[in-house]
């Protein structure tokens, strides 16, 4: 993939251009900084006067309070379990199905693939009510399987892995076939190792999507100990007036964003590469 450095054709950016960009960037970060400053203030100092956030004294007491609150840390754990579970599930299911659609012959293969692709056009709101009903029948609400499963059927992963596997030269699996390898061995020993870049891209996107999902956990997790961070923070901000202070609320927001910022910084390359792929399609 060509890097941004590979073609610079716009000429120099004028000082005015840089000024505009930096001004825009400041507008982008101002809300984040404001949140950070609020989270570092004593709650009573902020009552009726949030401008106090612009000067000291600052304190970590709100963060200390989070660790004293078992629910917020429980939500963090729930989010981690759901996001990691969904990521693992999507990688396994999409790789297996992608291999079948890209390489194997079986009856109705084309028809089934088209049915999977059509699923890309189904918005989640069109299926969420019957999904809620289905999971109630299965007694899966307020459980980890219940939170994880709906994320596994997104057709994008299968589409993505099928496309990627079609690009792997067939000679590789034919050579293995001549050596008497089974389909499973070819899949596991030849194909999977060659798809590591695609796996990591799919993993990052699935993780981001699962971690940030609000819709499904909102209706499936109704017990506060089964909330994910998104739902827990939604409940916290809706009850804001009655409960703890503004600084504490903002500390929760910062606390909840730290894991995802770490994932973003570590996996920046995968994100950029995936975007390059999307722009090519």
């Amino acid at each position: 993939m060509p890097t941004v450095a590979a073609n610079i054709r716009r000429g120099r950016l004028t000082p005015l251009g840089w000024g505009g960009l930096i001004f825009g960037a400041l507008i982008m970060v101002a809300p984040l900084l404001w949140t950070l400053l609020l989270s570092l203030k004593n709650n009573s100092e902020l009552v009726g006067h949030s401008g106090a956030a612009l000067h000291g004294p600052y304190t970590f007491e709100n963060y200390v309070a989070i660790f004293g609150n078992s629910l917020t840390t429980r939500w963090l754990l729930n989010s981690a379990i759901v996001a990691l579970g969904q990521t693992a599930g999507v990688l396994i299911l999409a790789s297996l199905a992608g291999y079948a659609f890209a390489r194997l012959e079986f009856p109705f293969r084309r028809t089934l693939f088209v049915i999977v692709l059509l699923g890309l056009a189904v918005p989640s709101q069109a299926v969420i009510l019957p999904q809620h009903e289905l999971f109630a029948w299965l007694h899966l609400h307020n459980s980890y399987p219940g939170l994880i499963l709906p994320g596994l059927v997104a057709p994008f992963g299968v589409f993505f892995m099928t496309t990627y596997m079609r690009g792997i030269p067939r000679e590789l699996d034919e050579a293995a076939m001549l050596d008497g390898a089974s389909r499973w061995t070819i899949f596991w020993k030849v194909i999977v190792p060659l798809t590591i870049p695609a796996q990591s891209t799919l993993a990052v996107f699935t993780f981001l999507g699962a971690w940030n999902d609000y819709w499904w956990p909102l209706i499936s997790a109704t017990r506060s100990d089964m909330y994910t961070l998104t739902v827990g923070l939604a409940a916290a901000q809706m009850n804001y007036a009655q409960t703890s202070g503004l600084g504490y609320l903002m500390a929760q927001a910062v606390f909840a964003s730290i894991p995802i910022f770490i994932v973003y910084i570590v996996f920046q390359k995968q994100i950029v590469r995936a975007m390059a792929g999307a722009a090519l399609q």
């Binding site: 404001w34 069109a126 609000y214 927001a253 090519l280």
Partner: protein, 292 residues
């Protein structure tokens, strides 16, 4: 070879297909059936044909929610697309400075809707917000963004644009990388101005990315939910209730599952129609100049 009769290949696809049938295809069908029934929390309900749809047509709350949805989508998609394109053009260059600024503009995109609304609630609030504080330093009266019928949708749009800039910007940056260098060299030989180069080379080459961004963003914003539910609960007096919030309230507030399903089907058809129209219109518009 009897490959066509070999069912073993299907075994690899089966785990996904089984879940897909159970958790996506079945609910999709079941949703259509529910929309034709009067269903509440208890019991199976009874068949009412298009009764729910007829009721929706005469429900001013649903009508307003659709209008709000279209309005907020129109307030978001065009500015978002233009700003993202502009940023990509300006930031498509090497160097640490550009990389840092790219990172900053993308950073908000990794946050969840709950964190975004939490942040923006205390920017927009007139008595305790950052905007209010800024306004006061200029000696102006802070505006009640979230409690004024005319300001609430623009406020939701602003929040959403701030949140959503990252991915379109990255898509445009990736699109810019695909434009062959020699096209620009040819333009330079012709002494084309930057402006001409942009209109004649850059923009036509980005056509497919542009269509992708507009289609994805339109479909996403027509389903806008969290911002409205969390920041305003659809208020004041329904001025920011979107279609998805309407169906959420009907389903999980009043447990009118059939009625909510009918609303979901209508919104589904609208999203499909808009997406297909955009795809078809751009296909025709660009077919004329030899594009694919």
């Amino acid at each position: 070879m009897t490959a066509a009769r070999d069912w073993r290949g299907l075994l690899f696809a089966l785990p996904f297909l089984a879940l897909y049938a159970l958790i996506l295809i079945f609910p999709l069908m079941r949703g259509v059936w529910l929309s034709l029934n009067q269903v509440d929390l208890f019991g199976d309900g009874h068949f009412v044909g298009f009764g729910n749809y007829a009721r929706l047509l005469h429900d001013p709350v649903f009508g307003t929610s659709l209008v709000n949805t279209f309005e907020v989508t129109l307030m978001i998609v065009p500015p978002l697309t233009v700003i993202a394109l502009f940023l990509a053009l300006a930031l498509n260059r090497a160097g640490k400075g550009a990389a840092i600024i790219r990172g900053i503009f993308f950073s908000s995109a990794v946050l969840s809707v709950t964190i975004v609304t939490l942040i923006w609630r205390f920017i927009l609030a007139p008595d305790a917000g950052l905007l209010g504080e800024a306004w006061k330093t200029f000696g102006w009266q802070p505006l009640p963004f979230l409690s004024d019928e005319h300001l609430v949708l623009p406020a939701l749009a602003l929040t959403t644009i701030w949140w959503s800039l990252g991915f379109p910007m990255l898509l445009f940056l990736a699109g810019l990388q695909q434009i062959p260098e020699d096209m620009y060299e040819a333009a330079a030989l012709d002494h084309s101005s930057r402006w001409t180069t942009f209109w004649r080379i850059t923009l036509p080459s980005l056509r497919r990315t542009l269509v992708l961004v507009v289609m994805l963003q339109t479909a996403a914003q027509l389903q806008l939910f969290g911002q409205s539910q969390l920041l305003t609960a659809g208020g004041p007096s329904g001025a920011s209730r979107t279609a998805v919030l309407f169906l959420f309230e009907a389903a999980f507030g009043r447990w009118e599952l059939g009625y909510a399903s009918a609303a979901a089907e209508i919104l589904f058809l609208i999203i499909l129609a808009v997406t297909i129209t955009q795809y078809w219109a751009t296909g025709r518009a660009t077919g004329a100049d030899g594009g694919r």
